[in-house]
């Protein structure tokens, strides 16, 4: 009897135990899938950035913005003859705001617009440019001969009677500063990476590496401040150029922000080159430098290239330094002239735009463009790093 009882007890115990195990398993499963969902948020973030920055720029792509100064006016009494969408575009309102307005407010707005139309000077009413929608692609990318200019020009002039949104000057400005920054940063950071990873004694490596990484800890606004107050004046007294804040100063200042990035990725790549092949070079009589230059650098070349590419992505997206250090200028490749970059334009002008207006849309278009540039640079760099890692897999 007692034996049987203990047997039942044991089996009950094992059942509860099994149930405990079962519940624990369910709990683990739930938590695992929760973690999985949360880790997907990174993908969601990238996706949302593209979606919501692109969304605000969408009306440019679909041709639903109109920046023309003179439009054939819609008379308030004719409000019923037009579709709501036509009226919305005519008034330049965002959809969410337009929905909330009743008919009387719309009529009032049309009257205001009518008054404004009457106040436009006569010479503009006859100007062919005043009637064009300057947010069309042909005006955004190609030069156009505006009234008063004697040849077709690339010009960014969003705040004027006829807003001109040609984005080429901004792209040229960004590239100009970026190239100067890279020209200065790449040799120095790759040189330092070769030294730290291949040539330096371990003790020097252990101190030099974190010290260089400390440079990454200086906020870009502080580098901008330093360039604006100190470097700009030094350089001007040395190089004797006319414009104090130009692309050259901005490029050099930007290289301070690029050096730690390029250095740390290039150093990683060079350090990952298997010791065995470098020791092989030593055995064949190579000096330390020859092994580094003729073996390690070619072996890590894709990695170094990826570092430069990521540096490019960082440079083209760098905002505060260029915002503080460059002055606006017309489109030119002269490095001692000012430069208007994509990032600085967004940062400087976003605060003053009419919400949902053409200028606002164009700034978001620039943001989308910037995101596209860096996205491609990142993907290519990742593929390069992946290839590089594959090459040396299993080697030590």
């Amino acid at each position: 009897m007692s034996k049987k009882f203990s047997q039942t007890e044991a089996s009950i115990q094992s059942v509860t135990e099994r149930r405990g195990v079962y519940f624990r398993k369910v709990k683990e499963r739930i938590i695992e899938s929760l973690m999985y969902t949360i880790s997907l948020s990174v993908i969601a973030a990238i996706f949302c950035i593209f979606l919501f920055v692109g969304k605000e720029a969408l009306p440019i792509f679909t041709g639903k913005t109109n920046s023309a100064l003179v439009q054939d006016p819609i008379k308030p009494e004719d409000i019923d003859k037009y579709s709501p969408e036509q009226i919305r575009i005519y008034l330049g309102l965002p959809k969410s705001k337009f929905k909330k307005l009743d008919k009387e407010t719309l009529i009032a707005l049309l009257e205001v617009k009518m008054e404004a139309f009457k106040e436009i000077p006569e010479n503009f009413k006859n100007d062919k440019d005043a009637r064009v929608n300057t947010t069309q692609w042909k005006y955004l990318i190609f030069p156009h001969q505006w009234t008063g200019y004697d040849k077709p020009v690339y010009i960014w002039q969003p705040v004027s009677n006829i807003p001109k949104y040609n984005i080429m000057p901004l792209i040229v400005g960004s590239l100009k500063v970026t190239l100067i920054g890279l020209l200065f940063a790449v040799p120095i950071s790759v040189g330092a990476a070769i030294y730290v990873s291949q040539l330096a004694k371990p003790a020097i490596r252990e101190t030099l590496k974190p010290a260089i990484e400390l440079l990454a800890g200086i906020p870009s606004v502080v580098i901008g401040f330093f360039a604006l107050l100190v470097m700009a004046s030094w350089f001007q007294s040395v190089f004797k150029y006319e414009i104090r804040l130009n692309a050259f100063v901005a490029g050099i200042a930007m290289s301070f922000a690029l050096i730690p990035i390029i250095f740390s990725i290039a150093e990683d790549a060079l350090y990952a080159v298997p010791r065995s092949i470098i020791n092989g070079a030593y055995a064949l009589g190579a000096s330390k430098w020859q092994a580094a230059w003729q073996i390690a650098v070619p072996a890590a070349f894709t990695g170094i290239l990826a570092a430069i590419l990521l540096g490019f992505g960082r440079a083209i997206g760098e905002t505060m330094i260029v915002l503080m250090v460059t002055s606006a200028s017309e489109m030119t490749w002269n490095i001692f002239q000012g430069a208007r970059t994509i990032t600085a334009t967004i940062a400087a002008e976003m605060a003053e735009v009419v919400f949902g207006g053409p200028h606002y849309r164009i700034l978001f278009l620039l943001g989308t463009l910037l995101f596209g540039f860096t996205f491609i640079a990142n993907i290519v760099a990742q593929v390069a790093i992946g290839k590089f890692k594959e090459k040396f897999e299993g080697l030590k």
Binding site: K27, I49, V222, F226, V230, F263, A281, S287, R314, T374
Partner: protein
């Protein structure tokens, strides 16, 4: 038959020229390293020499009321508070997500699965998105989408959530610093000795128990490093908060999540570009920069020390 072996050294004979060129190029690369150190030293010394002499207790604890360009009466208390709040809220939202993602990536997912590869690629991509694009994202997503929808749901007449606010700036920064936390945590988790994990499984612990009792305590310094680096990065960033919450000036501290705030980095920008008399306001500019740099620098140094300790331990356990 004689086999003729040509003993030709691959890299030439070790002549004097051989050594000179080697030494020359080694020195050249060492100089590159020194240039970087020099740049660092130049910026820091300039800021500290000119900045520290203008920092006073009054300057650090005053809330400027009207004219914040006045050298005699101004202070940066609201900027320090604003920056602290900004990174604090960012940490609360960002770090847990980053740590959980890192745990999932290193403990649960297999390295070859497609989802894992996409997540990893997304992490790397997120790290490369320009900071100004994060600002646009914050404006387009948090303010124009989430904020305005909250306002519509709650039927507020005035925009409460659908405008620049502390919470939106912090959330934007949280998204921006996710990769920093993830990479650092993953590195720390990878550094836990596999023996301990296997011992835990051998004793009958489940995966979750192993994570909580073995891996997380071991990875804690790494998570701390990631958090510190994220905080230091976020503390100095200005571009993402330009449109999402920072104010040019306010005579009060932020009280609610929906208030705007003042920020040290943005204050540096304002003082160096919008000042009515740059020569006269230089003392407060230098003092503000010094405070900001001390803040980010202390954080970075702490991160470097913790990381060095982790790596030393890891090497010892190998």
């Amino acid at each position: 038959m004689d086999i003729k072996i040509n003993y030709r050294p691959v890299w030439g004979l070790k002549t004097k020229k051989f050594y000179i060129s080697s030494h020359f190029f080694t020195a050249l690369t060492a100089i590159c390293g020194l240039i970087i150190l020099f740049i660092l030293f130049l910026i820091l010394s300039h800021i500290f020499i000119n900045g520290f002499k203008h920092i006073s207790w009054r300057f650090l604890t005053t809330i400027p009321q009207t004219d914040f360009f006045n050298v005699e009466t101004t202070g940066i208390l609201p900027h320090i508070v604003g920056t602290t709040l900004k990174v604090f809220i960012m940490t609360i939202f960002g770090v847990p997500v980053g740590v959980i993602t890192a745990i999932y990536l290193s403990e649960y997912s297999s390295n070859t699965s497609k989802t894992t590869r996409i997540i990893r690629s997304a992490v790397n991509n997120l790290a490369g998105v320009p900071s100004i694009v994060f600002g646009l994202f914050g404006l387009g997503f948090f303010i124009n989408f989430i904020g305005q929808n909250i306002d519509e749901l709650m039927k507020y007449q005035e925009p409460v959530w659908g405008k620049p606010a502390l919470i939106w700036a912090s959330l934007t920064l949280a998204v921006m610093t996710l990769p920093v936390v993830i990479v650092s945590t993953e590195e720390a988790i990878r550094a836990t000795p596999p023996g301990e994990r296997e011992a835990s499984y051998a004793l009958g612990a489940t995966k979750l128990q192993t994570i909580f009792n073995i891996i997380l305590p071991r990875a804690f310094p790494g998570i701390l490093t990631g958090t510190i680096l994220a905080v230091s990065r976020a503390a100095g960033e200005v571009a993402p908060i330009l449109f999402t919450g920072v104010a040019y000036f306010m005579a009060d501290l932020p009280h609610k999540l929906t208030d705007q705030f003042l920020d040290l980095g943005f204050h540096v920008f304002v003082l160096s570009t919008q000042s009515p008399n740059i020569e006269k306001t230089k003392p407060i500019l230098y003092a503000t920069v010094a405070v900001l740099v001390v803040l980010t620098f202390t954080l970075n140094l702490a991160a470097i020390f913790i990381r060095a300790r982790i790596r030393r331990k890891q090497r010892a356990s190998e």
